[in-house]
């Protein structure tokens, strides 16, 4: 058996953002049992990777450029923490449409799902 985290990270390794569905409802973070029901009937799905910024902040670490941290609402109906890249951290706006970009694993860090703005 593989853990939910291992399966999630294996998807990310292939450039995919995976989530689960149980009784027709999206489940994220991935689990061994569905919240509310305890159902172990959890199907893995791959997100289209499109969504909108739900909330945003800019962390100011000493000696580093400002770092965006955002909650992204995916179109499939689940929410996750991530960041929006390609634009200044403070330019990220709630409601902004974004698209997934998976950063490959490096130096002991697992692959990372970040987002970039969808250019109209």
């Amino acid at each position: 058996m593989k853990s939910p985290l291992t399966l999630y990270q294996e998807h990310l390794g292939r450039g995919e953002l995976a989530y689960q569905v149980s009784d027709g409802r999206p489940v994220f973070f991935p689990r061994v049992a569905a919240p509310g029901t305890g159902s172990t009937d959890l199907a893995w799905k791959v997100s289209k990777g499109e969504g909108a910024v739900y909330a945003t902040t800019v962390a100011h670490y000493k000696g580093e450029p400002p770092l965006n941290i955002a909650l992204i609402e995916l179109d499939e109906g689940f929410r996750m923490m991530s960041r929006v890249e390609d634009i200044p951290a403070e330019s990220v706006r709630i409601g902004m449409r974004v698209r997934l970009r998976v950063l490959p694993a490096s130096e002991g860090r697992a692959a990372l799902p970040v987002f970039v703005p969808v250019r109209p």
Partner: protein
């Protein structure tokens, strides 16, 4: 009013606060506050037969404190839900006291996070779905909530700053408050940004401190040294754990804890003369004023504007100066309750709220995660 809850706070005390003596441990502070709280009510250590405690630095609180105090408690509880733990302890102490499982309950807290640094006092849990994005926890979680509140309701940074300025004005009336200098809205806005929209002045203090509370059944409390402060109602609620899983970032489980507390007390917000609202960050009192029913959702910003929760304002909030300006050792809930108890006793000197017969203390833990509400009342309200 309601007689449903028949317990009362008999004694309260703070430990040393701010920057404590070198080498003091969190349990030293719990014990120091305990003997002071016992002295406050006139009970002896040997009367204590229930121990309730928590600290981010002590994994097995009740064991450690019972050993230190030399007590074999009949009842013990180390519920750890962050800053709201102590309101939860009070709820569990009430159940134990009402069931006759113990007679005198001690609730205690101690933290040396300033002395040992916050990162070693309470290292954040690793969350594989959040930590890689390097949120500055817990500030970034509260900042995310604030961003959403600003977006949906037009709440401004100035309105957030009002909360910090009001806390500072109250703190200047409290001789044991950490902060001693006035603060302006302009100064809050121009302070170093920690996690936008929150500046360092929107964030609670990082200091040492602790406290203790002695709770008994109301009939016994009436025979003791201090006027009993009755526990009229308590509500406890858990929302989520991580900020990614908070269903709506502008609505907290305080709605549920407040509903429970008011229902059990048979009271409404209009009956409350003073509030201790856990102010980990300036957004939190705004959320709790809304969720506890003191104003409508989204109106918290305008509600606090114009010095409305400062001394002389329309509603007395965090009269000790709060976690923002008085003391925030990491889990502030017990200190929030102590101030509410003292206001009901009428012993707060220059910051006393006149005729404070009902006070509300609200605790928050994690990242807007655990929410617990307590209504305290004078003998007249019991």
């Amino acid at each position: 009013m309601s007689n449903a809850v028949s317990i009362a706070v008999a004694g309260v005390a703070e430990s040393d606060l701010g920057q404590v003596a070198a080498g003091m441990s969190p349990v030293d502070l719990m014990a120091q506050a305990t003997v002071r709280a016992l002295d406050d009510c006139g009970l002896k250590l040997s009367d204590v037969d229930g121990i309730f405690c928590a600290s981010a630095q002590v994994r097995f609180g009740p064991m450690v404190l019972a050993e230190y105090l030399g007590i074999q408690p009949k009842v013990f509880d180390g519920t750890q839900i962050g800053g709201a733990s102590f309101m939860s302890h009070l709820a569990h102490a009430r159940a134990a006291l009402e069931a006759g499982l113990c007679d005198v309950a001690l609730i205690a807290y101690g933290s040396t996070q300033r002395s040992v640094s916050r990162s070693s006092a309470s290292p954040p849990d690793f969350n594989p779905y959040e930590t890689p994005f390097r949120p500055m926890m817990p500030a970034s979680a509260y900042a995310l909530s604030a961003s959403r509140h600003m977006h949906l309701y037009g709440t401004t940074r100035e309105q957030l700053a009002e909360v910090a300025v009001a806390a500072r004005q109250w703190a200047l009336l409290n001789p044991v408050a950490w902060e001693k200098e006035p603060l302006s809205i302009e100064q809050v806005l121009q302070s170093r940004v920690v996690s936008w929209p929150l500046t360092v002045r929107d964030c609670c203090l990082v200091v040492d401190g602790g406290g203790a509370m002695i709770v008994t059944r109301s009939d016994r409390a009436k025979t003791l040294r201090r006027p009993p402060v009755h526990v009229l109602g308590i509500g406890e609620a858990l929302g989520h754990n991580s900020i990614s899983n908070m269903p709506d970032l502008t609505v907290t489980a305080a709605r549920e804890s407040g509903r429970q507390a008011f229902a059990r007390a048979g009271l409404a917000p209009r009956d409350v003369k003073m509030l201790s609202l856990y102010d980990a960050f300036t957004i939190t009192p705004i959320l709790f004023l809304e969720d506890l029913g003191f104003c409508a959702k989204g109106e918290g910003g305008p509600f606090v504007a114009g010095g409305a929760i400062a001394p002389g304002g329309r509603l007395a909030v965090n009269t000790n100066g709060g976690g923002l300006s008085y003391c925030h050792p990491g889990m502030y809930g017990l200190l929030a309750m102590i101030e509410a108890v003292r206001q009901v006793r009428g012993e707060c000197g220059p910051r006393q709220v006149p005729g404070c017969d009902v006070a509300l203390a609200h605790g928050n833990g994690g990242v807007l995660s655990s929410q617990c509400t307590v209504l305290f009342g004078s003998a007249a309200t019991h």
